[in-house]
């Protein structure tokens, strides 16, 4: 039996509809051999946490380009912790100014990818930092 495939959920929290990056990444993760669940746009943090647990994912990748990441990203981590799913790695990306990085790291976001990050660098980070459980 081979190693279980890494399961990743690409999620769009909040009302932001800029989904080009999220959809490109979903496809890229699929091509990289991950099992991908894409939530579509307009998910509340509650919906994202619930589906992440239900789908038993290893990673949640949050994408937000609306500027609401300071509320939405930490909220997802908080909800996962509350539901004893703190082992799920949460990463994020989008239009996120440098000045917000520390706040997000402190809230439990493990890595942040901003415009211009290469697909390969994101896949590599996940392979190096997350093992399928």
């Amino acid at each position: 039996m081979g190693e279980r495939k890494l399961r990743i959920m690409v999620a769009k929290p909040g009302l932001d509809g800029h989904d080009r990056g999220a959809r490109v990444l979903a496809r890229c993760f699929r091509d990289a051999g991950f099992e991908v669940i894409y939530t579509g746009c307009h998910q509340t943090p509650e919906q994202i946490a619930a589906s992440a647990i239900q789908e038993d994912v290893d990673v949640v990748g949050l994408s937000c380009l609306s500027g609401a990441h300071r509320y939405l990203f930490p909220r997802v981590v908080e909800l996962l912790k509350e539901q004893e799913a703190a082992d799920i790695t949460v990463i994020g990306g989008g239009v996120i100014p440098d000045q917000d990085f520390q706040l997000l790291y402190d809230a439990g976001i493990k890595e942040i990818f901003t415009p211009g990050a290469s697909l390969d660098s994101i896949v590599e980070w996940i392979r190096n930092n997350v093992k399928p459980s």
Partner: protein
């Protein structure tokens, strides 16, 4: 025939000589790469000559401005009578913050206003709704009730300045607020001018700001067209938009084709649903294109767009008024072409894209600010972007003559090629039963997803270049000033909404919301009822909740 026989007889000999020289030259120095293509991956030849446009007919295909097929523009005087409208998209924080930015822009020489709303407003939610947490004022202005709107347009003479509002699912509500605000200023509806974007099809295709399913969404749009035709004759009721399709990753041809096919769908619906004569409303339809970084491809796209639309309106819809044949459009430079790395390079990109839009004959233009990859633009960055337009208009000489690239072998040939490829898409979507049917199949969505993924892969491999990102990268961050929208805007806005709800007449609100509901249920025009409801201080979400209740909600099919 565009060329005399003499020219066409000489051509093959001269061409052969040149080709022989090319062969020799390549032996000495090979080309840097094999395939040369546009940013949309359209292959471009080393040279274009008379042979590439020999089948063109000057009168039929090119002609002069103001003459069918309007390839060269609608206006016979070009930019000499007036330049395009310098219209910077602006909105952030509270209505008061945005009003202040608007006054700054008008003072700096801007000639029209353009409103960016925050996501809750765009999606038909009030500040404080659980769906809207954290979003208030972040990427546009927050509007909950007419009180906010009145503050937004404070000191703006609505009979003199035209305003564009980028608003889609709740377009009826925001337009109703604009009408009510005009009423407060004592300006009759016949005197106000502006645009509501009000293009839902591209939302399902690309921008993903949706509320109700496609069919009722289109019904609400036809309501606005009918209301505008009857009562607000200077208003552009739909801005049929390719911008977002392109930003979502489409090619230039896809942007052209899907946008025009969306336009066909709207015209069809208004004629069938409302029984309006095509010439009574078609002159008020406007368009909105992206100007991306591939200079000639953009110019050709805009020229082709005018020629396709005039043909569609005359031949498909039998419009008789030449104004119905005109494609009038706004352009915005491509946000997706800008880079977070080395952000000052974005000034250069935007200038080139703006120049393409002007050479393509745009009627109105927004130039992006250098910092928009990071945040809403700071005042200084916006000023540079506005000055870019003023430099093009008043220093470069570009506006001296109309359609200066006409007759270029390359430009005419590429215009023809893009038009042909767009027609192929339009015919394909016709065969599917129209754009709503195509959207339900996921056709345009997946075409765009394929193009976006392909482009991203080309960036990864270095086949396509973004300077500062995958080539000439320095690895150092250029620190630029970033505009931050304080999280306090949200709590203050929630307080404002509460205060309005306390002071308004609850019975009048309920009565007017019931009237909106009845209109929805009976298939009547909602606009008069919306205006009544906003005047009674019904909130944006209260009206949108009626739409959700009657028409249902659309869920993202999450295709990738």
């Amino acid at each position: 025939m565009y060329f005399s026989n003499d020219v066409l007889e000489q051509t093959p000999k001269l061409r052969k000589q040149w080709e022989d020289e090319v062969k020799k030259a390549i032996e000495k120095q090979a080309d840097q790469k094999e395939l040369w293509s546009t940013v949309s991956d359209l292959e471009i030849k080393r040279i274009y000559g008379p042979e590439d446009i020999k089948d063109m007919d000057f009168e039929r295909d090119i002609a002069y401005p103001g003459q069918f097929p309007y390839l060269r523009g609608n206006q016979v005087t070009g930019y000499r009578g007036r330049y395009w409208t310098f219209r910077m998209f602006a909105g952030m924080g509270s209505a008061k913050d945005t009003n202040r930015r608007w006054h700054m822009l008008l003072q700096q020489g801007q000639t029209g206003l353009s409103t960016a709303f925050d996501f809750p407003t765009l999606m038909g939610y009030d500040t404080g709704d659980p769906h809207a947490r954290g979003e208030c004022g972040k990427c546009g202005v927050a509007i909950d009730t007419l009180e906010d709107f009145l503050q937004l347009v404070d000191g703006i003479p609505l009979d003199k300045i035209t305003t564009s509002m980028t608003i889609n699912p709740p377009a009826t509500v925001l337009w109703a607020m604009y009408c009510a605000a005009a009423d407060r200023q004592g300006v009759p509806l016949t005197k106000i001018g502006g645009t509501i974007q009000n293009d839902m099809l591209k939302e399902f295709i690309a921008q993903k700001t949706f509320m109700c399913p496609p069919k009722p969404s289109v019904k609400l749009i036809s309501d606005t067209v009918e209301f505008g035709t009857q009562f607000v004759p200077k208003w552009n009721t739909i801005s049929i938009s390719g911008y977002h399709i392109r930003e979502a990753g489409s090619t230039a041809v896809q942007e052209l084709a899907f946008t025009l096919r969306d336009g066909i769908e709207y015209v069809d619906d208004v004629i069938k649903r409302k029984g309006l004569d095509v010439d009574s409303f078609a002159p008020r339809l406007s368009f909105f294109f992206n100007s991306h970084i591939d200079f000639f491809e953009e110019i050709c796209k805009m020229r082709a767009a005018r020629r396709i639309w005039s043909t569609v309106m005359r031949d498909r819809f039998k419009a008789k008024d030449p104004r119905s044949w005109w494609m009038r459009f706004h352009t915005q430079t491509a946000g997706c072409s800008l880079t977070a790395q080395q952000p000052y390079n974005n000034v250069v990109r935007t200038a080139i894209e703006a120049l393409a839009a002007v050479l393509g004959g745009t009627q109105s233009l927004h130039t992006n600010s250098l910092d928009e990859v990071w945040c809403l633009p700071t005042e200084h960055a916006v000023e540079i972007a506005l000055r870019t337009q003023q430099i093009i208009a008043e220093e470069t000489g570009t506006a001296n003559t109309i359609d200066p690239l006409a007759g270029s072998f390359f430009v005419e040939s590429l215009t023809n090629e893009m038009e042909e490829k767009a027609w192929e898409y339009i015919e394909k979507i016709d065969a599917m039963g129209g754009m709503i049917a195509a959207i339900e199949k996921g056709f345009p969505q997946m075409e765009i997803a394929d193009a976006a993924y392909k482009y991203q892969r080309q960036l990864e491999s270095g086949e396509k270049v973004m300077v500062g990102v995958n080539k000439y990268a320095t690895g150092e961050a250029d620190a630029i000033p970033v505009l931050d929208i304080d999280d306090r805007v949200e709590t203050e806005q929630m307080e404002r909404l509460k205060a309005v709800k306390r002071k308004r007449d609850g019975k009048a609100v309920k009565r007017s919301l019931d009237a909106v509901r009845t209109a929805c249920n009976k298939g009547e025009n909602v606009m008069p009822h919306c205006i009544e409801a906003v005047k009674n201080l019904a909130s944006l979400q209260e009206i949108c909740d009626v739409y959700r209740e009657v028409y249902g909600e659309y869920q993202d099919p999450a295709m990738y």
